[in-house]
Subunit: 246 residues, 2 copies
DNA sequence: CGAGTTATTCTCATTGTGAGATTATCTTGA
DNA sequence: TCAAGATAATCTCACAATGAGAATAACTCG
């Protein structure tokens, strides 16, 4: 009972409590040359000096959570603040940072082939790394990255998220490429084509086509843009993993 | 640039930063008499005195996030710590609490018909409220509750979550009742029956039946228990809302 | 120009779904 | 005790969705 009393008192001056730091970390994903990449920054100082970590930092007074995530991303990459961003999860294990109690709210960001992190930016060294074999990550960031990847893979199924990885217009094949890259599995081209066009609001025709065929041949492909659907019905389900079911 | 510098410095003493409090809030759901209820506590002091709020409180040093959520739930309800709990989302708008910067990590809890909050517990008054017409909630808790409900509804589709609302064993009709209550729509009994039994690992037969028929007649129903599936394939999709698609 | 590649469309068998009907087993109330 | 109404568990049937494979046509490259 007195525990609760002290808690109530603490509401009036949280400084009585051991300090808790709140940070945002961003799992920024992009596709470059057909490979899914995540943005990482190299830590310039202890702890975990020299290790790679997700871009992130402390929230500022008066700054909302998604705002902080966008700012951190912009600081590391010079990225325009128009990237799609969404909250992923929060991590607050007492010993996840050796210095102090740190609660981190992670965000997931997607964008079409992002530029290299700008030189002279805040991050001493920021770079895109293939998610398939990332370097050893600081703190619990490997877990955060894994959670982010799973979220991204799942959201491809029932949202038009894939279109945020493409340019303004795209071909069905490019869209299929996004799915194949993120899911890491080849898809049946014909069935994928049929499926995408049958989902209301997923894509809409532009009436134009690519100016030339693919680099290795094939006809010119029709160009589409993202439609107005926010959820896909029916969803594009991943090929069932044998035992992923259970 | 100097912003970043100060941020790096601050890593070594977060007390230099304006204080941030971290709390956990719990959206605890149960089904009583065929109605979905959420656990609320009445605030005993300003701000928002007299308003209802989600149970929750400050995290303690050395305490993990889910641990804090379980503790808060136990303090308010006397509930055994075995309730299914999962992280929902985090809320950190700068002005969500007038006293100070508060970042709240919300958790979602499910359990079969929970007992009434125990008298003499920490909460001056805690009670179950139907989610269909909740009282006016403090802070941004209406939003948190709404997010929790949507999450629960969505998870019924592709996880065996519904079985956490039932007892150890249950009939298919009871399971259907959970779906109907949470989704708020009537379901086709025959199709639901077929579907549940066709999903591998969703339920497994106990070999027993209820000792008597339903209160209004009908044969004795077979009893099942939760199976070992963690995901449902194929999923039990909600009846498509006309324009929910877009 | 010929080979190889790709976009797009079809076919067909199989599975999953919605709606409705059937049958047998209970409870309740006359 | 029996008739009426309710419910559990199956089944039918039409239709939508899916996976696999094939066909066709339009390109690129050497």
């Amino acid at each position: 009972m007195d525990e609760k009393e002290s808690a109530f008192l603490a509401e009036y001056d949280p400084r009585d409590y051991p300090p808790v730091a709140v940070t945002v970390d961003v799992v920024a994903l992009t596709i470059r040359a057909g490979v899914l990449h995540v943005l990482l920054v190299e830590r310039g100082r202890p702890p975990q000096q020299g290790r790679w970590a997700l871009p992130g930092g402390f929230i500022r007074p008066g700054e909302d959570l998604p705002e902080a995530a966008r700012r951190e991303l912009a600081e590391e990459t010079g990225l325009a603040p128009r990237v799609h961003i969404e909250q992923l999860a929060s991590y607050g294990s007492p010993d996840r940072d050796p210095r102090m109690r740190v609660v981190s709210i992670s965000y997931l960001a997607f964008a079409p082939d992002l530029p290299d992190p700008r030189a002279g930016s805040d991050a001493a060294s920021a770079a895109w790394h293939p998610v398939s074999r990332p370097p050893e990550l600081a703190f619990d960031h490997a877990r955060v990255l894994a959670d982010g990847l799973e979220r991204a893979r799942a959201k491809l199924e029932y949202t038009p998220l894939a279109t945020t990885f493409t340019g303004e217009t795209f071909t069905i094949s490019e869209l299929r490429g996004v799915y194949e890259t993120v899911w890491g599995v080849p898809l049946h081209a014909g069935n994928f084509h049929r499926k995408v066009l049958s989902v209301p609001g997923f894509v809409e025709a532009t009436g134009h086509s690519t100016v030339s065929g693919g680099s290795r041949g094939g006809p010119r492909a029709k160009l589409y843009r993202a439609g107005d659907a926010r959820l896909l019905h029916p969803a594009l389900l991943r090929p069932a993993e044998q035992e992923g079911t259970r």
